[in-house]
């Protein structure tokens, strides 16, 4: 090959002028990145208003998910609720039922924490077998953001919990302001532990689709509990057993019994690249294998990667030490021989849990679960660099 004209010839951008400041007062990604977007699987639900889309995790790196491509899940559509019209009520077994405005919330001591939010149905379409061809679709119901807000404990104590008596068997019921009235019951010990009433994510206001102006953050627990457009917190004697904690977000076992209150998200990981939407395009030689790992029970202590479908495992390099209930980025840098690979990753967390295979999960839970599929994913990377979602023996 001769000299590269991109180097030897003066290019237009090296001669003319680019945009001035203020060309985009709030910037969006450059047009060349227009494929890095949330995507929907149309056949999954009856309508986009009560549906879910997926984070393009195959195309992202690091751990923080930009808000603009972080998955959305709505039950009655993303509403537009002004800060001025926002009210948060605390009622039930409290000393003084209170109403807060948005401005009130801003005056409580604030916390900043990074947490992942994973829909309990993430990977749910994969229970019966490999189905969707891409990490975005198999594992994209997850995002990871830095939240700023007030601890729920602070607000509950402001209303006073003496009226609740012994807190051990008490609950809080949290409810959103949209038409779905999504509500979930949370045991008091979790409510007083690490739950946040958040109004900023990644430094800026929450996006409409994530519950602007205020959402609940329930670290490590299924995303459905992270109530958006949070409008009411009720201290109760028992769980409300709402639709979202009985008919949905329960896990039916092979014998027809169903588990309820399966709140924690089990440790899980996935190789985000190479993967079906992110094939190898450079041939053999140095290859960066990377992915994400997380656990709702603590922090990631290690990730193992296999390129031979689980016969042998190598410990991956964590980009940074795992942190509590947040995404951890891992890398395995290899010299690819150009042969096909069966790529897998296996997460381990601080509770001693090791991410199971799909066979192991099915042995316990059968095939009728919808939620909480945290099994090991396999990508069949072919010699030409393309990858496919498969299951292996």
């Amino acid at each position: 090959a001769g000299p590269d004209p991109l180097i030897t010839e003066v290019q237009e951008w090296a001669s003319g002028l680019g945009d001035g400041v203020d060309a985009t007062p709030y910037g969006l990604p450059i047009s060349y990145e227009s494929d890095v977007i949330r995507r929907n699987v149309e056949w999954l639900t009856a309508d986009t208003i009560s549906s879910i889309n997926f984070t393009p995790i195959h195309a992202l790196d690091g751990t923080i998910t930009p808000q603009g491509c972080a998955f959305e899940r709505h039950h009655s559509g993303a509403i537009e609720l002004k800060k001025e019209d926002y009210r948060l009520m605390i009622n039930g077994l409290v000393d003084t039922p209170l109403v807060f405005s948005y401005a009130d919330l801003e005056r409580f001591p604030r916390e900043n924490r990074v947490y992942f939010c994973e829909c309990a149905a993430n990977s749910g379409m994969e229970w019966a077998g490999a189905q969707l061809n891409g990490a975005q679709f198999t594992h994209g119901m997850i995002h990871n953001m830095e939240y700023s807000g007030v601890s729920l404990r602070t607000l509950l104590e402001e209303a006073g919990l003496d009226a609740a008596g012994d807190l051990k068997d008490k609950w809080v019921y949290v409810e959103g302001a949209d038409a779905s009235s999504n509500g979930r019951s949370i045991p008091m010990d979790k409510a007083l532990d690490d739950v946040l009433v958040a109004f900023k994510a990644n430094g800026e206001a929450l996006r409409k689709e994530h519950g602007y102006p205020v959402r609940l953050v329930v670290p490590g627990w299924e995303g459905n509990m992270w109530v958006k457009w949070l409008r009411r917190i009720e201290v109760t004697n028992g769980p409300v057993e709402s639709r979202e904690e009985t008919s949905k977000y329960t896990d039916t076992l092979a014998d027809g019994t169903s588990r309820k209150w399966t709140w924690e998200m089990d440790a899980k990981s996935v190789v985000t690249s190479p993967s079906p939407q992110s094939p190898i395009t450079h041939g053999k030689g140095p290859l960066v294998i990377t992915g994400l790992a997380w656990s709702g029970r603590g922090h990631i202590t290690g990730v193992d990667v296999s390129i031979d479908g689980g016969k042998t495992w190598n410990e991956a390099r964590l980009a940074a030490p795992g942190t509590d209930k947040a995404l951890t980025r891992f890398y395995l840098d290899i010299d690819w021989d150009g042969q096909e690979m069966f790529l897998q990753s296996r997460a381990r967390d601080s509770s001693g849990y090791v991410q199971p295979t799909k066979t192991q999960l099915r042995d316990v839970r059968g095939l009728n679960s919808i939620y909480h599929n945290n099994s090991i994913q396999t990508w069949w990377v072919k010699a030409n660099g393309e990858a496919e979602n498969v299951e292996v023996s």
Partner: protein
């Protein structure tokens, strides 16, 4: 040298003063008024806490269900398309692909009442009266063969209803039933002899097409351009199309969000829960090809009803008042401005 330790000491004191003692109150917010609590504190618990007084029978429930619910859930609660089935599925929970309905799966009747009351109908939530909710829930029980057609549900007999799957749930037991997933020594080498592909996603081929082409954002401008392009084909008089106010069309697009759960417009529009609305303004009522209309809409068509702006305005203001028994389970647009805007928007989708 001497200044330094003093400075640290001073800072420490200041910090201690700035941090409030444990559980000290900030005095923020205001007491919630009883009327406010009553307005929002609507949730109903399994023991009946929160249920208002009232009652409704199966017969009344069937009528309300046909009007308000059947468009998505079917006349017999059997579900339409991907919308939830509310009846059937008895004894399927241990089968492959169990059918989970109110009858086969939901453990507490309070959940159904609470959900219908606070979250339904879809697109017109919190518009039902307690007696209507009792009647709808009675009908759902009837459609699941759990009560007979003479049944009346009320706050008095609510707890007497037995839900078939009431005992079908256990509290999360992963820590014990899956205790073997907690292992100190995961296998690293020679973990299995062979690796064979047992299932391929490509065989199913259900992954959405991903070309990387993003559809252009639907701004008001784009809509107007589209309208202009379609001008010659539009059935409306030319001057009226030309008179479309871009701002009004853009406002109408926002209002149309309320309609989008059931209706589509544009090139790729298909009949969904409601018919395609391209060219609907000025078009005969009940005449979109391939859509299954209610009897009421069919007979309006036979009577020669045309969706002029006047007729459409009246329909959109109060659909059920305008046409009793229409399948459209939408409460109506309260503001005249919204109606005007959404009609302008619909006009931009010519014919």
């Amino acid at each position: 040298m001497s200044k330094f330790p003093n400075l640290i000491a001073a800072t420490a004191v200041a910090t201690a003063l700035a941090v409030p003692a444990y559980a000290e109150k900030f005095g923020l917010g205001r007491p919630a008024l009883p009327e406010e609590i009553a307005a929002w504190n609507q949730d109903v618990s399994p023991d009946g806490t929160g249920l208002p007084e009232g009652s409704g029978d199966v017969f009344t429930g069937e009528e309300i269900f046909a009007e308000q619910c059947a468009v998505c859930h079917g006349d017999f609660a059997e579900g339409v398309g991907n919308w939830p089935k509310l009846a059937g599925g008895a004894d399927t929970l241990d089968h492959e692909d169990p059918l989970k309905t109110v009858g086969s799966y939901w453990p507490h009747l309070s959940t159904t009442w609470d959900y219908v009351n606070r979250s339904m109908p879809f697109g017109a939530a919190q518009t039902l009266e307690p007696d209507e909710v009792y009647a709808i829930v009675a009908y759902i029980l009837y459609s699941n063969d759990l009560v007979d057609d003479e049944f009346t549900l009320s706050n008095e007999n609510f707890l007497d209803v037995e839900m078939p799957n009431a005992d079908g749930f256990i509290v999360d037991d992963r820590l014990t039933s899956e205790a073997h997933f907690w292992t100190d020594t995961p296998c690293m080498e020679n973990c299995k002899d062979s690796v064979e592909i047992t299932m391929r996603a490509a065989v199913l081929d259900v992954t959405p097409d991903e070309t990387g082409e993003v559809p252009p954002a639907e701004t008001g401008e784009a809509v107007v351009e589209e309208a202009k392009a379609e001008e010659p084909a539009a059935a409306e008089p030319v001057e009226e199309v030309a008179a479309l106010d871009p701002e009004l069309v853009a406002d109408g697009e926002k209002v149309f969000k309320k309609c989008k759960s059931c209706h589509q417009v544009g090139d790729k529009a298909k009949n969904k829960t409601g018919p395609v609305l391209n060219g609907i303004v000025g078009h005969a009522a009940g005449a979109v090809e391939g859509f299954r209309y209610s009897k009421a809409m069919k007979s309006a068509n036979e009577d020669g009803l045309v969706w002029t702006e006047e007729e459409l305005s009246a329909f959109l203001a109060k659909p059920k008042k305008y046409m009793k028994k229409t399948k459209m389970s939408f409460a109506g647009l309260k503001k005249d401005d919204d109606i005007e805007a959404v009609i302008a928007y619909l006009k931009s989708f010519g014919g």
